[in-house]
Amino acid sequence: MALEPKDVRRAAHLARLGLDETDADRYVDDLTRILEMADHLQTVNTDGVAPLAHPLDATQRLRADEVTETDQRERFQRNAPAVENGLYLVPRVVE
């Protein structure tokens, strides 16, 4: 499947990755070749083959509904770029 520059711009936007124009051109080139490689998958007959998401055929274990965590806000927020009154700050979100 051919990759168009708009596909890369769209992916960059969805992934919130800022790309300048020269970056974008370079990525179109790289991604085109990577996808050409991925296109080889189309040659494999997978009729009736179920997708495999996990390498082991295991099932989900459930945890007991218990509160096990204590407040560690101060510790966690030491890594935060901007906090005030215990809140993480981001540029104003307009709704």
Binding site: L14, R16, A53, H54, A58, T59, Q60, R61, L62, R63, A64, D65, E66, V67, T68, E69, D71, Q72, R73, F76, Q77, A82, E84, N85, G86, L87, Y88, L89, V90, P91, R92, V93, E95
Partner: protein
């Protein structure tokens, strides 16, 4: 042109678990910002989710409550998008293999008509945090305490045809989740909220019109108002030659209107794929059967039983089964007094009246089901008459005395049924009322019935309301007629 409205609802119910869906942080409401956001909720590098067993059990209970199919395998997917209240950049949800399959619920409309609404599916997902837009130097503050709270998203088919039906459906959902005890259903705190999909089409047309989705409506009344506005907007738009665009809208209760939420944003592409950190959830038949056998009686069953076994009217059965608290209270009163109809009258009458007047809920009522039951029992066994019973109720409500018997005793309200005592009081009243007796005697026999009221009143007054009114009536009539 005649238009038909088509409505589908996505109801989000916060599940009443102690801890979050994928972490051991508390779900308690109202804590200090971010004090209940643990490493997993914050999406710190390296953390992993583990599924809460109660969230699974509650979802399955809901499914059983709407007679839904419970698939053996359900799978969590990631819904990818960026937003400050979404810490990992994806919401863990169930897109392709939800935990609850197709089911249905019966709704009752105001006129007593019933209608079946199909539920397409219900799935588990995690809630997001909250963005606070008060001024932090023109910044937005993010509180992630709510992030990871388990949600059950219940998606209906577009089976509703009016705002009233949508409200009835939402009420039915509310009553199912609260009956099951899987959600507190508190719409004001956001534990239950819904997205409303609305479209219109010319009557008789089969194809659906283009729908608008009204996000995050959080009260029954707003659901009704939002739909009413939206339907009118869409019809006007089409009739003026315009076209409804598929979009997300917001209901503004202040302005009582819906508004488009996004203008420049292109359609989202959430890139759902199975969450590699969570394995398929497999529910065996024994587990589902176990949950089925421990399911409480649900509103529809209760309503039917109230009608068929207790002999209540459809209306009474509906009102008394509307919430689990109401039904439990009514059944408590009925157990104690042994008379379903009397219990129904008292719960809907004096009791509901007092609650309404003072804006109280059943949980905060000063009169318990036991107290009211004992009171109604005294009415039933004729220890007190109806008038006295109201006095007793008012006294209990005001906190005077612990039981009806105590109040009856203290106030001497016990009904007098001793014929001798009543006759004595009647004789005294007749002796004290020569003028009225003369009038009675002179009146045409068919007018006398009305005039007897005066004497009854006097006798009741003399007995301080405790005489049995039927007895008083009968004896008075005998004695007065004997004088004629």
């Amino acid at each position: 042109m005649q238009w038909e409205t088509v409505i589908g609802l996505e109801v989000h119910a916060q599940l009443a678990t102690q801890s979050k869906i994928f972490s051991g942080a508390s779900t308690a409401f109202g804590a200090e910002p971010n004090s209940q956001a643990c490493a997993v909720d914050l999406g710190l590098p390296g953390v992993l989710p583990v599924l809460n067993e109660s969230a699974v059990a509650m979802a399955v209970q809901f499914g059983l409550g709407i007679n839904a199919e419970i698939p053996e395998v359900s799978i969590f997917d990631r819904k990818n998008y960026f937003y400050p209240d979404l810490p990992k950049g994806y919401q863990t949800s169930q897109m392709y293999h939800p935990i609850v399959g197709q089911g249905e619920v019966e709704i009752t409309l105001e006129d007593g008509e019933t209608k079946r609404i199909r539920v397409h599916h219900a799935h588990l997902e995690e809630d997001a945090g909250k963005s606070l837009h008060e001024d932090f130097h023109s910044m937005t503050g993010v509180d992630l305490n709510r992030a990871g709270t388990p949600l059950l998203e219940i998606v209906s088919e577009p089976d509703m045809r009016s705002a009233k039906e949508a409200v009835a459906y939402l009420k039915a959902m509310h009553s199912i989740v609260t009956y099951l005890g899987i959600s507190d259903g508190n719409m004001a705190e956001g534990s239950m909220r819904c997205d409303v999909n609305v479209s219109v089409r010319p009557k008789g047309q089969e194809a659906f019109g283009t729908r608008a989705e009204i996000k995050n409506v959080n009260s029954f009344r707003f659901v009704e108002r939002a739909i009413a506005f939206e339907v009118e907007r869409q019809i006007e738009l089409i009739e003026d030659g315009g076209k409804v665009v598929q979009e997300t809208r917001l209901y503004d209760p202040e302005a009582d209107e819906t508004r488009s939420m996004r203008t420049k944003e292109e359609a989202n592409d959430y890139r759902y794929f199975p969450c590699p950190d969570l394995l398929p959830v497999v529910l065996d038949a024994a587990y589902v059967d176990h949950l089925r056998s421990s399911l409480p009686e649900l509103p529809a069953e209760k309503r039917a039983r109230f009608q068929n076994e207790l002999g209540l009217s459809a209306y009474d059965a509906g009102v008394l089964s509307a919430t689990r608290a109401m039904a439990d209270f009514f059944e408590g009163v009925k157990e104690v007094c042994g008379d379903a109809k009397l219990a129904a009258n008292w719960v809907q009458g004096e009791f509901a009246g007092h609650l309404n007047k003072e804006g109280l809920t059943i949980a905060s009522s000063p009169v318990s089901a036991l107290q009211l039951g004992e009171l109604v029992a005294r009415v039933k066994d004729e220890t007190i008459n109806g008038k006295a019973a109201k006095q007793v109720f008012a006294a209990l409500w005001a906190g005077e005395g612990n039981s009806a018997d105590e109040v009856i005793e203290a106030r001497g309200l016990k009904q007098v049924t001793d014929t001798g005592a009543i006759e004595a009081m009647i004789d005294q009243v007749i002796a004290d009322s020569p003028v009225q007796v003369a009038q009675y005697r002179d009146a045409e026999p068919d007018k006398r019935g009305k005039m007897i009221g005066y004497f009854v009143g006097q006798v009741m007054k003399a007995s301080r309301g405790t005489a049995n009114p039927q007895q008083v009536n009968g004896l008075l009539k005998e004695k007065l007629d004997a004088l004629c």
